[in-house]
């Protein structure tokens, strides 16, 4: 591919287009896709956290309802046994409830309810007795903790408690219910957001309430960004981590969801990039194929045409052209070129032929100008006249001969005035009458108006010669030759008529077709050719003849003035 060629330009164009299109599509799509994935990631996070929050709230609500129910029932209980029975009954029918305690102010257990087989034991500290719980107006639930009240039983529970006035003891006491949280903690453990995301719960002071990997948190192996999360509500993004926070209704705890932006987005983007690279490669493949097709249909034919033109320039005559295949326009171009080449070659051929003919004619004219036969015959005559003392006639002959040759030469010009041409013919006739004495008579009739027009020289003489040699019958003495010159519309018309032997049609035709072989002169065909070469096909000679009647030869010329000669 040359620089700046069609092919090169097109390849660059298509490649650039492909790259630009692919790049912009990719970038746009990536941005939109990435944003949408981000949004989706954040929404996922929000939804998961929301769901966890709801679940925990429901759980908490149930605990509150249960405690309320207990409170309602035990307020008016009449005896410790009744109290104990009720509490045991409560625990037994409620599978989530592990125990209910009635505490006094110091944390001593006055009564309690528990499942069968649970034995209370003395211990250093009852961590289910949490005074904080009892001091709030609303129901507050403790963080999950291990229950250490019963022997060999250490379930994870949450405690909900309240102050209550018991008629039985006639004072305000504390009632605390321990509810197992294994199921809710399991639930939080199993929450996943994306591949790696999870949830945990913190309180309003920024302490950890529950974390699925709490053993790692407490041993310092893992850390959550508590500074950031302490008072968070809604989403925040730190680096590639999305935090979603949602506070529980009562505002004591907040559920925090953690998910990772990169894993959700980057993996999908990697897939996308692979797709795009494949698309780009396919684009390149397609552009190569397209360019090759274009080459075949357009650029190659164009290049071939250019080469053909160059070749034609260098060798016009021998050039042969074969049309190209390609698109419609190329084929038309190609065919037109072929026609042009052929036409040019024809024209050149024609010019050559005409050149040759003209040269031949010139040659012949030159020959005629010094026609030996004619010359020595005439000189013979002149000598004869001189010997016979016919000096007048000799003078006339010499004069006629010299004028004849002067006009024949005409300083080398091909076109002369009709006046001169007639003069030439007259001189020839004069000479010929001396030679063919009394065999014929002649007349010239020329209109004044045509005399200044131009015509080919040596037009009349060969025709007159023909009339004399072939037309006039020496047996009869009344041969007449009439030469006229007149104008007819836009033409100048000569006629040479005789009343001689006439010709057959075939002879008429053959005069115009064959060059004369004899050395007598140019011949009628030559005259006809010269006229046609100079003036065109519509001018020239016509032959009419009737056997034994006579022959009329008509010569047509255009009206040529000195101004429009361009020899």
């Amino acid at each position: 591919m040359k620089k700046n060629s069609i092919s090169g330009f097109l390849t660059i164009l298509i490649s650039v287009m492909c790259i630009v299109l692919t790049a912009t599509t990719t970038i746009m799509f990536t941005i939109v896709y990435r944003n949408s994935l981000h949004r989706t990631a954040i929404i996922n996070s929000e939804q998961a956290v929301s769901q966890v929050t709801n679940t925990i709230e429901i759980y908490a609500q149930e605990m509150k309802n249960d405690l309320k129910m207990v409170e309602k029932e035990i307020q008016w209980v009449a005896s410790p046994e009744e109290l104990r029975d009720y509490l045991n009954h409560m625990v037994q029918i409620n599978s989530g409830c592990v125990s209910v305690m009635i505490y006094d102010e110091e944390g001593n257990i006055l009564e309690y309810g528990a499942d069968e087989g649970y034995i209370m034991e003395k211990q250093t500290e009852d961590i289910s007795f949490l005074p904080d719980l009892f001091s709030e107006a609303e129901y507050e639930i403790s963080a999950p903790h291990v229950q250490n009240i019963f022997k060999e039983s250490y379930p994870w529970v949450a405690t909900i408690g309240n102050k209550i006035y018991l008629e039985l003891y006639k004072k305000e006491l504390y009632v605390a219910m321990d509810v197992e949280v294994l199921s809710i903690l399991s639930y939080v453990d199993n929450v996943s957001i994306g591949q790696r995301g999870y949830c945990f719960v913190i309180d309003k002071y920024g302490n950890m309430v529950y974390h699925p990997q709490q053993q790692l948190i407490y041993s310092g192996i893992k850390n959550e960004n508590m500074n950031l999360l302490a008072n968070l509500e809604g989403e925040t993004i730190a680096g590639d981590i999305i935090y979603s926070a949602h506070a529980l209704e009562d505002g004591h705890w907040t559920v925090v969801g953690v998910s990772y932006m990169d894993e959700l987005v980057t993996d999908k983007l990697k897939e996308l990039w692979w797709l795009i690279i494949i698309e780009l490669l396919l684009c390149i493949v397609i552009s190569i194929i397209t360019v090759k097709a274009f080459n075949r249909k357009i650029s190659s034919p164009v290049q071939n045409l250019i080469n053909a033109m160059k070749n034609f320039e260098q060798n016009m005559e021998e050039f042969r052209y074969r049309t190209e295949k390609g698109v419609y326009e190329m084929q038309i171009l190609s065919e037109s070129f072929e026609h042009m080449v052929k036409r040019l070659q024809e024209l050149m051929e024609q010019v050559k032929r005409e050149e040759i003919l003209l040269r031949k004619t010139e040659l012949k004219a030159l020959q005629t100008q010094i026609n030996p036969h004619f010359l020595y015959n005439t000189l013979d005559s002149i000598q004869w006249m001189c010997e016979r003392n016919k000096a007048d006639q000799a003078v006339k002959m010499v004069g006629a001969l010299s004028r004849l040759f002067r006009i024949s030469i005409s300083k080398g010009k091909e076109l002369i005035t009709i006046a001169d041409e007639i003069e030439h013919a007259k001189n020839y006739m004069l000479i010929q009458t001396f030679r063919y004495t009394n065999q014929f008579t002649y007349h010239f009739e020329a209109e004044e108006e045509v005399l200044h027009y131009f015509c080919n020289k040596i037009t009349l003489q060969p025709i007159i010669e023909n009339a004399i040699i072939h037309g006039i019958n020496p047996a009869y003495e009344d041969g007449e030759i009439l030469v006229t010159a007149r104008q007819e519309k836009d033409y100048v018309v000569f006629t040479v008529s005789d009343n001689g032997m006439g010709m057959t049609e075939e002879q008429c035709r053959s005069i115009l077709k064959h060059d004369t072989n004899d050395s007598h002169g140019i011949g009628i065909k030559n005259v006809n050719d010269r006229i046609k070469i100079y003036f065109g096909e519509e001018y020239g000679i016509q032959v009419e003849s009737k056997m034994d009647v006579g022959t009329t030869i008509t010569i047509k010329f255009p009206k040529v003035t000195e101004g429009n000669i361009n020899i």
Binding site: E121, Q123, T124, E125, I127, H145, V146, N148, K151, E152, Y154, P155, W156, L182, L185, S186, D189, S192, Q195, R196, Y198, P212, Q213, Q214, Q215, L216, Y218, S219, I221, D267, E271, W274, L275, I277, I278, L281, L282, I284, V285, I288, K292
Partner: protein
């Protein structure tokens, strides 16, 4: 020219097809965890840690172990199976320090990453080792034994026979502390098999043989439970000060009723978690600068048993399921 172009086109098409095949889900990493046993509280807690890391890093996890803590042949067989499965990594707690070296070398030669948790092997091959600092925890146990002792300590040791290094290192840490204390001396020692019954029997025999023993040290879960049970049976709970290891439920009970005076508790969840996490990082070619991770054992006694941080360690949530 035509040939060159066709060749280019072929190459381009091939790259495209290869790209296509890379699309879709990528393969999950496959990690096999092989422990000394699977059914004790200790190893269950380790398993929970492993699972937590497995779900966090989206890893295919297989948790396996023989039935008894002495069956290293089964362990080797499990390692062989992991090699055949073309596991990406093996997290191992070795029963025997010497008899698993060959099989581990074979695994490593196949490009499988090796991470050690808890008990290691005598070899340089494992890339990351996560364990409790046994020597340090033995020392802690010694210090706990000595602290607040009102009389001279005459100590009996209950330890496991066999090639496991943990017990030996802990014992070494313990005895190094005791040696430097005037009022403490080690009277006797019994080596038992790795099950509670054998430990209980062994302890009873030790106590019979050396009635003057007023302190007992046991260095792992089985021996702690067995020794504690024996002491309780003999009615010597108040007389004998006992320090043990690990947070078996029975051991906790014995702690609460005063039979056992202190327990060194390991962070099993963390050990399992870190084991799988590091295996995952090795598979992904992440640079790990800390290849020897030592966890501390925590001394748990009646004073701190229900503290917030301790209770989470001693009573894993998963355990109460």
């Amino acid at each position: 020219m035509k040939k060159k172009v066709s060749l280019c086109l072929m190459v381009l098409l091939m790259i495209s097809l290869k790209g296509c095949s890379r699309l879709g889900t990528q393969d999950k990493a496959q990690i096999t965890v092989i422990t000394k046993a699977t059914d004790t509280d200790f190893w269950q807690a380790v398993r929970n840690g492993c699972n937590s890391a497995a779900s966090e890093y989206n890893v295919d996890l297989l948790f396996q172990g023989p039935d008894g803590e002495e069956d290293f042949e089964t362990q080797n067989r499990l390692i062989e199976e992991a090699i055949e499965r073309e596991s990406d990594a093996i997290v191992l707690s070795a029963i025997d320090r010497d008899h698993s070296i060959e099989i581990i070398q074979k695994a490593a030669s196949r490009g499988i990453y090796i991470v050690i948790i808890d008990s290691g092997i005598n070899s340089d091959i494992p890339e990351v080792i996560i364990s409790t600092d046994n020597y340090a925890s033995g020392k802690k146990a010694g210090e706990a034994m000595v602290e607040g002792a009102s009389e001279t300590l005459r100590i009996g040791i209950v330890n496991m026979a066999g090639g496991t290094a943990n017990g030996q290192e802990r014992e070494l840490g313990f005895t190094d502390v005791i040696e430097n204390i005037e009022d403490a001396e080690i009277i006797g020692k019994v080596s038992v098999d790795s099950n509670m019954e054998s430990a209980r029997q062994g302890t009873l025999e030790l106590l019979e043989h050396y009635p003057e023993i007023n302190a007992v040290i046991a260095f792992n879960e089985y021996t702690t439970v067995g020794a504690g049970t024996a002491i309780e049976e003999a009615g010597l709970g108040n007389k004998i000060k006992m320090i043990g290891f690990d947070n078996n439920t029975i051991a906790i009970e014995l702690l609460k009723n005063g039979t056992i005076d202190g327990l060194l508790v390991q962070n099993q969840f963390a050990i399992g978690y870190l084991g799988v996490e590091n295996a995952y990082n090795l598979i992904n070619g992440k640079y790990i600068d800390d290849r020897d991770i030592y966890m501390e054992a925590t001394l748990v006694n009646l004073d701190n048993l229900f503290e917030e941080s301790i209770e989470k360690l001693v009573f894993p949530v998963e355990k109460s399921r």
